[in-house]
């Protein structure tokens, strides 16, 4: 006999779990089916070398919505921070590093840059607030003639208006352009500009000169974390503990979570969603199916274009998902040496982006499906603050490495070794003993990320985060309000508004839409 449920959620990523928790909390009978043998999707902690554990994809918490933490009592369910308010260390080849925290910078920079940084953070944080207020709203449709949408647009217009005349003008001036020009307008120090520029392009298919990078910089600062914008935190036990807490909350509210249950396809019955069929052949029937999988996988893979109107399928096909970031994990026999950096700063966020042109040159390669000869990096050694990740006295290094385009000339099978080497070579320029300390190295290319985390294109936002793929056009018009053209099918992943980063807003917004329908 076939068991009836209200809702099946495809994928136990953080957004799927958030969605499940809110639906269960509202009394829906929810089953989450996760393909992997653990929940968490891209927010997991796993072993990559004997007794060495790491946050395998996302490795820092900077966007998790405070409202969700409270409403789902994540602390009660075991979420704790090993460290919060990480500084950013802009590594310099000559050892003259800079330490950034918020509007403060320590190190060798001209005073005008210190002043400029205060003003820069003032308006960037203020503008990020406009985007932050969008996170927990369902994107309004344009020209739909419906009151709900007009109100949504009105709110947005009002948020911009409330910036005040001068700031509103500045917002409208810079929102659509590139971070390169803005940083050139304000700063003189190459090292400082490089570090600030890197934040704008992490996880995107763009360089500092690409228009749209101001927008991505703002998105990164737009978390409703309750702390100051851009605050970086390390969850104790790695990112997996965020997912564990979310799963616990969902279960406590009555949601059923089944791991190792990959979905083969979404079942249709007279033009309505009827449930899902697992790879095992088992069918889970439900009138509502919510997909935490990325839009491409959901529509073209699990559902199949034949169930979609041609124009819509075409749009999904054009949704840009060119993953461009790789992940490096090193098991270290001891703390590495970074000349010029005091040991007490080794646990902070270390970035390799000595200048804007360096970052732009690194990006140039990606445009032609080559990996960067001189990659940029965001490095953390979480074990400094979190002993649960590595054996006593030993350490774990986790780095996001760019640029590594999903589609590499000659393929990653051939290119991976060479890329790993150029990554370590660059790393060595800043930490000469890194190779000797590395017991084991793991590099996840976008291809690997795509396989392990089932993200199309290996893109951690489930799709490029850009103005032409944001708000009412994310992922594509017609599916931007979490409901899709297919009756009973909803999206709740990073491919939907407001995009990726362990935030949870997409999951909660989707739940709200489902409960309202």
């Amino acid at each position: 006999m076939i068991e009836r449920r209200n809702v099946v959620i495809i994928g136990g990523g953080h957004n799927g779990l958030v969605c499940a928790a809110y639906l269960a909390k509202a009394g829906r009978k929810v089953t989450v089916v996760e393909a992997a043998n653990r929940v968490g999707g891209a927010a997991i902690t796993r072993e990559f070398a004997p007794d060495f554990r790491v946050s395998a994809c996302a490795h820092l918490l900077n966007l998790l919505d405070q409202g969700i933490c409270k409403e789902l009592a994540l602390e009660k369910h075991g979420l704790a921070m090993a460290k919060t308010g990480l500084k950013t260390i802009a590594l310099s080849p000559d050892g003259q590093h800079l330490a950034l925290s918020g509007e403060q910078v320590d190190g060798k920079v001209p005073d005008q840059d210190r002043v400029a940084l205060k003003e820069f953070r003032r308006f960037m944080d203020k503008f990020a607030g406009v985007i932050a207020r969008l996170h927990n709203r369902v994107p309004p449709r344009l020209a739909s003639g419906q009151t709900r949408d007009l109100v949504g647009l009105g709110k947005l217009a009002l948020d911009i208006r409330m910036l005040g005349r001068e700031d509103m003008r500045e917002f409208l001036r810079i929102a659509g352009i590139n971070i390169y020009d803005i940083l050139q307008e304000n700063f003189t120090s190459d090292l400082l500009k490089g570090a600030l520029g890197l934040d704008a392009v992490l996880g995107t298919f763009s360089g500092p000169r690409s228009n749209n990078s101001v927008f991505t910089a703002l998105h990164r600062l737009s978390g409703n974390t309750g702390q100051s914008p851009g605050t970086l935190s390390l969850p104790r036990g790695g990112m997996g503990s965020v997912s564990q807490a979310l799963a616990a909350a969902a279960r406590q509210h009555g949601a059923e979570i089944r791991t190792s249950s990959p979905v083969a396809r979404i079942l249709m019955e007279n033009d309505k969603v009827a449930g899902v069929q697992l790879a095992s052949g088992e069918q889970l029937m439900a009138a509502t199916v919510v997909s935490n999988a990325d839009p491409r996988t959901t529509f073209l893979g699990l559902l199949g274009a034949r169930n979609l109107e041609a124009g819509f399928a075409q749009k999904v096909h054009h949704f840009r998902v060119h993953g461009n970031a790789a992940k490096l994990h090193l098991a270290l026999s001891g703390l590495p040496e970074f000349p010029g950096l005091q040991n007490d700063l080794l646990g902070e966020r270390l970035v390799i982006a000595p200048s804007l042109d360096y970052v732009e040159r690194a990006f140039n390669h990606a445009k032609y499906s080559e990996f960067s000869q001189q990659p940029v990096m965001e490095i953390i050694i979480p074990s400094v603050f979190d002993q649960t990740l590595a054996p006593e006295g030993q350490h774990v290094l986790s780095a996001i490495v760019q640029y590594a385009p999903r589609e590499l000339k000659g393929g990653w099978a051939a290119g991976k070794a060479a890329f790993t080497d150029s990554v370590l070579t660059v790393l060595e320029q800043y930490s000469p003993d890194i190779r000797s300390k590395a017991v084991m190295a793991e590099l996840l290319t976008p291809e690997d990320l795509e396989k392990e985390f089932r993200m199309s294109g290996g893109h951690w936002h489930h799709g490029e985060l850009s103005m032409d793929q944001f708000l009412m056009v994310r992922p594509v018009p017609g599916a931007a309000q979490y409901a899709t053209p297919v009756d009973g099918l909803y999206l709740c992943g990073a491919g939907s508004h407001p995009g990726g980063g362990v935030m949870g807003s997409a999951g909660r917004n989707a739940a709200r839409v489902i409960l309202a329908s």
Partner: protein
């Protein structure tokens, strides 16, 4: 000292247009021009005996028909002759021609890709929609979104209404079109590299962005929203060269009693207690007026022709941050005969139009990478025309004039000023590129003029050699052009106005900025408006 109602600085096509509309309103107007000739970048010059060069701007399409008619330019001798053809040449000897006959045109595309032939229909439809939308705003003053003045609110409402007429999906298309790169936009329609490359060029001409830079899809409009005799998207030659445009405008201006003074640049715009009083010329003469209109670029106007103490530091900072980066160069040739393109033999229709030397998105983008690193493109994108095939008045019989637009060319080489030696090397790079497609081309050259951004700045006054008087990026469009708060043609001093391409709706021989500025001036002076309203296309 003679006093005028208004003084217009710079006799570029926008300056003359502006002056003409002011004169039509009965103002007595003086126009001062630094060069001994008028026209600015819209000029014809005999640089080689018997050859007339359009040595700056070289084709005509964007010129607003409303202006063409209301200034009666036909009467003053302006004749724009549409040209046919246009072709993109690939390194492998293949070509992509564009033909007037629909079936032939379609067959040509289908020859490369049937799928793209079908997509072309959708592509043209969608681009034309975008053109019709923006054309409504070319002859309107952009509203200030931060203002609550009735007029601005009305304009915003107009914009909102026009937008909603596009319908829901139309709006999503609009939103994406304005924020995408030309590469991503074309990828949504086409599959064949040559077809993409042929169209992508329009997204970067005159711009310091690459085909992969978001925001370049929009730039395409500046090459599609024009018309010749009502044929939207068509291009033509001004008979006698682009100088004919300026000449006709100036004749109209003179007819309405305007005075034009060439040969001396402006030393300083005189300001007294926050109000302009006139201009002082480099030759020492001073002329008084309560209205001074600058056709010069935004930075040139305020950084070179005004006293710093007359301006606020905040304003000056914004002027210095104005993006006006040169990205293109120009070569002009007097040719002993018609170059022989093996790929075009026996196809004299195509050679009459633009000839683009490009065959892939990657080559275009790599050309941009050279610009970013401070050097001219080693494998440059070239847009060539032979106007003398269409307009016999430009050269002796049997001889030809060739205009070659090149991208990318940086305003400075590795941060240092251009040297003559570097200019000549650049020229060689381009000549070699053409020789690759037209063997024997070099032997035909009787005279060559090579212009880098340095020459464009020194000879025409285009800051950094930017042909649009400022980048066409979102931070410098509509109510942001040239800078937020000064997008309605009024400068920071009372009586001071801007009418150049640095203002909305930007560059190209469009004359809209000049006309819009005139409308604002007449409004402030309480004079009857002589500037036509834009027509609704449909």
């Amino acid at each position: 000292m003679k006093k005028y109602a208004a003084i217009v600085i710079g006799a570029g096509h926008n300056g003359i247009t502006n002056a003409a509309y002011l004169a039509k309103a009965g103002l007595n107007v003086l126009m001062v021009e630094k060069s001994p000739w008028i026209g600015g970048a819209s000029v014809s010059q005999e640089l080689y005996k018997g050859w007339m060069y359009s040595n700056c701007s070289y084709v005509c399409s964007l010129l607003r028909p409303e202006i063409y008619r209301s200034l009666n330019l036909a009467k003053y001798g302006l004749q724009v002759v549409p040209y046919g053809g246009s072709v993109t040449l690939a390194q492998n000897g293949d070509i992509l021609g564009s033909y007037v006959d629909d079936d032939v045109a379609r067959r040509e595309i289908a020859r490369h890709s049937q799928r793209d032939a079908d997509a072309t229909v959708r592509f043209h439809r969608d681009i034309m929609r975008q053109c019709r939308f923006i054309r409504q705003y070319l002859l309107r003053t952009a509203p200030d979104p931060t203002s609550f003045r009735l007029r601005d609110l009305k304009e915003l409402l107009h914009l909102g209404k026009a937008a909603s007429r596009l319908g829901e999906n139309g709006l999503y298309d609009l939103m994406r079109f304005y924020t995408m790169s030309i590469k991503d936009y074309l990828d949504e329609y086409f599959e064949h590299p040559l077809i993409k490359a042929a169209r992508a060029g329009s997204g970067i001409i005159g711009s310091a962005m690459g085909v992969m830079s978001p925001g370049t899809a929009y730039v395409l409009l500046h090459h599609a929203m024009g018309e010749v005799d009502g044929n939207m998207g068509a291009w033509g030659f001004a008979r006698g060269g682009m100088g004919a445009v300026a000449k006709a405008m100036n004749d109209c201006f003179t007819d309405h009693g305007g005075e034009t003074l060439c040969g001396s640049g402006v030393e300083r715009i005189m300001v007294k207690n926050g109000r302009v009083t006139g201009v002082a010329l480099e030759n020492g003469n001073e002329y008084l007026a309560n209205v001074v209109v600058s056709n010069m670029t935004f930075p040139r106007t305020f950084l070179e022709c005004m006293d710093e103490k007359d301006l606020s530091p905040a304003f000056l900072k914004k002027v210095r941050n104005f993006k006006i980066r040169g990205s293109s160069g120009k070569l002009n040739f007097a040719l002993d005969g018609l170059p022989d393109f093996p790929a075009l033999r026996g196809n004299h229709e195509l050679i009459k139009g633009d000839m683009h030397l490009i065959d892939s998105i990657e080559r275009l983008e790599r050309a941009y990478d050279d610009w970013k690193s401070g050097i001219w493109s080693q494998d440059p994108y070239v847009d060539m025309l032979i106007p003398s095939l269409t307009d016999p008045t430009m050269t002796p019989p049997g001889k030809h004039f060739m205009s070659v637009f090149v991208q990318y060319v940086p305003p400075k080489v590795h941060g240092k000023d251009w040297t003559d030696a570097q200019r000549d090397q650049f020229g060689q790079t381009v000549i070699n590129q053409i020789e690759n497609y037209a063997p024997g081309f070099k032997k035909l050259i009787l005279h060559a003029e090579v212009r880098t951004p340095r020459e464009l700045e020194n000879e025409v006054g285009l800051t950094e050699g930017n042909i649009f008087q400022g980048e066409l990026t979102m931070d410098q469009l509509l109510f942001n052009r040239p800078i937020p708060g000064y997008a309605q043609y009024r400068g920071p001093a009372r009586g001071l106005y801007m009418c150049g391409s640095s203002t909305h709706p930007g560059g190209g021989v469009m004359a809209a900025p000049g006309a819009n500025a005139a409308r604002e001036i007449l409004l402030d002076l309480g004079k009857p408006n002589t500037v036509p309203e834009g027509w609704l296309d449909d």
